[in-house]
Every structure is written in structure tokens, then in C-alpha cells.
Symmetry: C2
Subunit: 187 residues, 2 copies
DNA sequence: GTCTATAGGATGATAGAC
DNA sequence: GTCTATCATCCTATAGAC
């Protein structure tokens, strides 16, 4: 799991895996049919871990629904800082690297993304937004923004692009909630 | 260039390259010191090509500065459709894949991103936005959004996430230009 | 379930003739 | 500048003893 995150799938060799797991190939192939099967298991594990690792800590860190979204993003900022902005979202990295023919992997990748968007949708549904707001679109935007921001921060080896994206999201959501507050006064 | 886009750097072997270039290894190593040197040359070529391939067509397709930004994004939508949403931005893909120690590669990746943001900044500077608008932040957001949107469309094998991101950007920029129009009336 | 040993092929890169 | 031939190493995966 760690190696696919750090080096990607193709650049991680079986001997890398064996060394890190401190076992021999016989043990590996006793549990996994192939290197690709390990990838599937890793992606499945990410999906399983999502609530505990991503959603719950962010939901515990804030009670305001909009701030919970920013708490999720703050988690990624923390991970960027911890790695000197070299790594990023492991799912995003694999989403761009894995062979499109690997349908099983992509099913798990989309499962992860869907869970992520679902958590944000939950927050948005509880937020004071205009009733016309397209919440699935907006949740998709937040994921899009996180992934693009992490990528750009890796490219520049700086949190600044990430922070810029968060600032802009804050401005946009601020305008939306302001519009929701104005609407009742008008109508 | 094509193979790094299609398969990534690690998954592209020298024999893949030789087959596609229809030459032998002797010829390859006459021009390039290593596979990594080819990567650097490819990234440099992308930077060289940016104006002709990305900026100029979009600027020619629209005269309104905001619509020029959406014309850039429409170019990526077209590329997604042409590849059944399997590929994406080649720079973005390499930004997540390439070893962070490969500083030369990352210098070229950031050069590409900076050129991209520069084109968007040019558009934003000509657009009717509130004078307080942070144009570099906003240009960075557009790149962030494009990269994240392409990634998510690849993950779901659908243009829908890309379109959702564009819709949201349009809404945000619409609110900003509306605010700029209101401001003179108030002040 | 873990070990050693190894198959069978691909890998990036080089040497040197032409 | 392109060719053939090849090096040395690494790769994923398997076989079979224990």
C-alpha cells in the first residue's frame, strides 16, 4: 500500500514489496495471485478505510457542515506538508497511472471517489445553500479541486497552489451561502 | 512523446519506443543519453508547443476573455472524447508519476504549468472582474480544476465530472462578473 | 505458510562494425 | 547515424522441499 503510494504501481517491483513486507515470493504468491491482485486489494482497502481515515476525523474536527469540508481538505494539506509536497492522493495517482483496461482497478478507484464525493455531499446537504444548488456537481467540484490542487502542489513542491485552491473554494462557497441568506429577504 | 502520454514513463519500455520510432537502440542512444533524457526532451517540447497547440487555438475560437478560458477547457474535453476518457493531460500524468528526485523533469513540469496559468491570467486580466480579484489565485484554480476534472473523468470513464467542473467554474466566474457589474452602481 | 531456487523473458544500456 | 549483437541486471511468476 505504502509503496504504490510512494512510487506508483509500475515503478514498484515485487522485490521492493518483498523487502518491505520482509517475506519471500512464495509467501506473497500464497496470498495474492499477482502484483495486479495486490493493487486491487490495496484499492479495496482504501475504500474500506475511507470513513475512518478521511471522513470521521474531519467530521470530528468541525461541526459546521461547510467547515467539515475544509477539514477534509486540511487533512490533505497536512499530508502534503508531511511529505514535503512530493506525494499526493494515492487514489489520484493510480487513477492517472493504471492501465485503462484494468477494469477491476478502475471500479475500485471510482468507488473511492464516490465515497469521497458522498461525504462532501452530506456536508453540502446540511449547509445553508440556495435551494437551486446542484449539490452533486458541487461535491464533484470539491474532489476535482482537491486532486488538481494536490497535483499542482507536487509539481511546484509547494503548498501555495493547494492553499490558493482552498481560498478560491472558500470564496465561492461564501458567495453561495450569502446568496442563500439574501434570497429569503427578497422573496 | 505519445507513449509517455498513453502509458506513462515507467510503463513505456525502450523497446516500445524503438518500435514506435522504427529504429534500433544504437540510433536512440546516439541522440539521447538515457530514457530519462528523452523524458526531459518530451517535457521541453510540450512547453515549446504550448502556445501553438493550447493557447492560440483557444484564443482564436473566442474573443471574449472569459470564453477564451472555456475554449481552453473545451480543448481538453475534446481530447477526453477522442480517447474515450482514458487519457488525460500528459503533464498532469507525469506530475504525479515522475520520481520527485528527478528535479530536471519537475522544472519542466512546472514550466508547463506556469505557461498554462499565464495564458489564463492574460484572459482574466482582460475580463470584467471586481478589482479586488486575486487573478493569480484564480488562474491557478482554473488549472487545478482542469487537472482534477480530467482525472475524475478518466476514473469514471465519462465526461460528466469534467462537465460538472466546467459548469461550476462558469457559475463562479458568473458571480464574480455580476459582482463587478453591481459594484459601480453601488459606489 | 514460508523457504530456496530458478525459470523465462524483458529491461536499460553498450560495443563496435559499417 | 544506423546497424547487429550482446551485456548485466532485473522482472514477474512458479516449483517443490520443508
Amino acid at each position: 500500500m505504502y509503496l504504490f503510494w510512494e512510487k506508483g504501481f509500475a515503478a514498484t517491483s515485487l522485490s521492493d514489496i518483498l523487502e518491505r513486507a520482509r517475506c519471500r515470493s512464495g509467501s506473497f504468491y500464497h496470498f495474492f495471485e499477482s502484483k495486479e491482485a495486490l493493487l486491487h486489494a490495496v484499492l479495496e482497502l482504501y475504500a474500506t478505510m475511507f470513513d475512518v481515515v478521511i471522513a470521521q476525523p474531519a467530521f470530528a474536527a468541525a461541526s459546521d457542515p461547510i467547515e467539515r469540508i475544509f477539514a477534509i481538505l486540511a487533512g490533505y494539506r497536512e499530508r502534503l506538508l508531511q511529505t514535503n509536497c512530493t506525494y499526493g492522493c494515492p487514489i489520484g495517482r493510480l487513477a492517472l497511472e493504471v492501465d485503462p483496461n484494468n477494469t477491476t482497478a478502475f471500479q475500485w478507484i471510482s468507488t473511492n471517489f464516490t465515497a469521497w464525493r458522498g461525504a462532501v455531499e452530506t456536508c453540502l446537504a446540511a449547509a445553508p445553500l440556495p435551494p437551486t444548488t446542484n449539490i452533486p456537481d458541487l461535491a464533484s467540484l470539491v474532489l476535482t479541486l482537491m486532486e488538481g490542487a494536490v497535483m499542482q502542489s507536487r509539481a511546484y513542491r509547494s503548498v501555495e497552489p493547494f492553499d490558493a485552491a482552498v481560498r478560491q473554494l472558500r470564496a465561492y462557497l461564501g458567495m453561495l451561502t450569502a446568496a442563500a441568506e439574501d434570497a429569503p429577504k427578497r422573496g
